[in-house]
């Protein structure tokens, strides 16, 4: 079954030299086909490609938001175009509602509360788990809509090294949308915890879990000009135990 055809088979050495270029798609289509044929036969080369795969995955991973409306187009194509509302089973419809609302720029917090039944947490809920992790892609559209709200203020969320790691959008209503916090996943025994700095004291806004995404919380009407995120034990803490891994402040 695995007998090579000597006339067509790429020599091992030739294939091996091209593995780096192959895994980052820097070979011609003919070379690609020849290498793939060789990989089917050569355990050594397959091992090297497997080993490099996750590295290339990391190089390729810059994160980033998907453009608004793209999911809806994918959904439409999957449902074979046409009047997708008519043909879509009812369970899918909830994915569209928030986007429509977002696109008509209704109040962000109201939309979240109405559609997802999300409880907006306040400063009183010291270390309560935030239940506002996004549940559908459409929520991302709402987060984007938050940026477009009149009076929205965006703060850069920076690592101690000064790299932008996300942003915080504060709305005049007191809702705060952590729009882009996509940090490295933590062990299950840890959580990211978000703090508002009020009168120079950290006050817990809640836990973001170990795989944080977009979150919404409320400052309870108090003015916060600084936010910080720390890594804490999974149950959360009343006071930060370590230095922040990210901070945001009014520019």
């Amino acid at each position: 079954m695995e007998r090579p055809n000597p006339t067509e088979q790429m020599q091992h050495r030739e294939a091996e030299e091209l593995l780096g270029a192959y895994i980052i798609d820097a070979v011609d289509p003919e070379e690609r086909a020849a290498i793939e044929a060789h990989l089917g036969l050569c355990v050594t080369c397959r091992g090297e490609v497997d080993a490099l795969r996750s590295t290339v995955g990391i190089i390729a991973n810059e994160g980033g938001p998907a453009p608004a409306g793209l999911w809806e187009r994918i959904e439409e194509e999957i449902n074979e175009g046409g009047d997708t509302v008519t043909y879509r089973p009812p369970q899918r419809s909830r994915l569209r509602i928030p986007t429509i609302i977002a696109s008509t720029a209704l109040a962000v917090a109201a939309a979240l509360t109405l559609i997802f039944g999300i409880e907006i947490h306040s400063l009183h809920s010291q270390v309560t788990e935030l239940s506002t992790q996004v549940t559908t892609s459409a929520t991302r559209a709402i987060a984007t809509a938050a940026l477009l709200q009149p009076g929205a203020k965006r703060f850069a969320l920076d690592s101690p090294q000064g790299h932008a790691v996300g942003s915080v959008v504060a709305l005049p209503s007191g809702e705060v949308v952590l729009t882009s916090f996509l940090m490295h996943p933590l062990k299950a025994s840890s959580t990211y915890q978000v703090w508002a700095i009020v009168d120079e004291k950290p006050i817990s806004l809640g836990l973001l879990g170990n795989r944080p995404s977009i979150s919404v919380f409320h400052t309870g009407g108090r003015q916060a000009f600084e936010f910080a995120i720390t890594i804490e034990p999974a149950h959360g803490v009343a006071q930060p135990t370590g230095a922040p891994v990210a901070t945001a402040a009014i520019i």
């Binding site: 490099l52 590295t55 390729a60 991973n61 810059e62 453009p67 490295h184």
Partner: protein, 206 residues
């Protein structure tokens, strides 16, 4: 993941994964996609759609092309979820590698190349594209930056031109006025070196 588990069974168009979609693993989501659970695909898009689009845009330097590539990728995942083999890496790596391959194929077509060249100046001036970048996975980005910095300059340049500009190693060789064989070797040795650095980084993170 067992091979059988991913077989399509339209009978199971159930809501069994619906309540806690955001908590279930990528591999389980792909199984749900195989059962025609569109919400599972939406969740995969939520988790990885941005990264896919960012990479497609970085390589194609064209918003419309990047969106086409992203759409194509997710439609393909919907139609052929069994192509993802959880044993060979994470779903994000799988999607990003597919994205990269598709993106370079797209830009190597002549028409796209012209569009891309027209977009070159715009791409340079819009790199402070905050909202896109701030969503990025900081940890990976910093690790990659550091790993790239540890490479000899020639290796780094060859990898960057090939990976982010979508050039073949032959084109890289022309661009750098170096022999093809040298570029081929540099790409491979550079990636291996990064592999070592990033493995150490992953060990520390774990």
């Amino acid at each position: 993941m067992q091979a059988e588990s991913i077989q399509r069974n339209p009978q199971h168009r159930s809501k069994d994964t619906e309540p806690q979609l955001h908590e279930i693993s990528d591999a389980a989501l792909v199984v749900a996609v195989a059962r025609y659970n569109q919400d599972a695909l939406a969740e995969i898009f939520r988790r990885h759609g941005g990264a896919v689009h960012t990479l497609a845009k970085r390589v194609t330097r064209d918003q419309a092309l990047a969106e086409e590539v992203t759409q194509e990728l997710f439609v393909r995942l919907w139609n052929e979820p069994e192509r993802y083999d959880a044993g060979r890496g994470t779903l994000r790596t799988y999607l990003l590698m597919q994205t990269h391959r598709r993106s370079v194929d797209v830009i190597r077509s002549e028409e796209a190349r012209k569009r891309r060249e027209q977009n070159d100046s715009a791409a340079v001036t819009s790199t402070s594209y905050d909202i896109d970048h701030e969503f990025g996975d900081l940890a990976d980005r910093e690790a990659v930056r550091e790993a790239l910095q540890t490479l000899p300059r020639d290796e780094r340049k060859a990898i960057e031109l090939a990976f982010f500009d979508g050039l073949t190693y032959r084109e890289v060789a022309q661009r750098l006025e170096q022999p093809e064989g040298t570029v081929k070797t540099r790409i491979r040795s550079g990636l291996k070196r990064m592999n070592v650095t990033l493995s150490q980084w992953r060990a520390v993170e774990a």
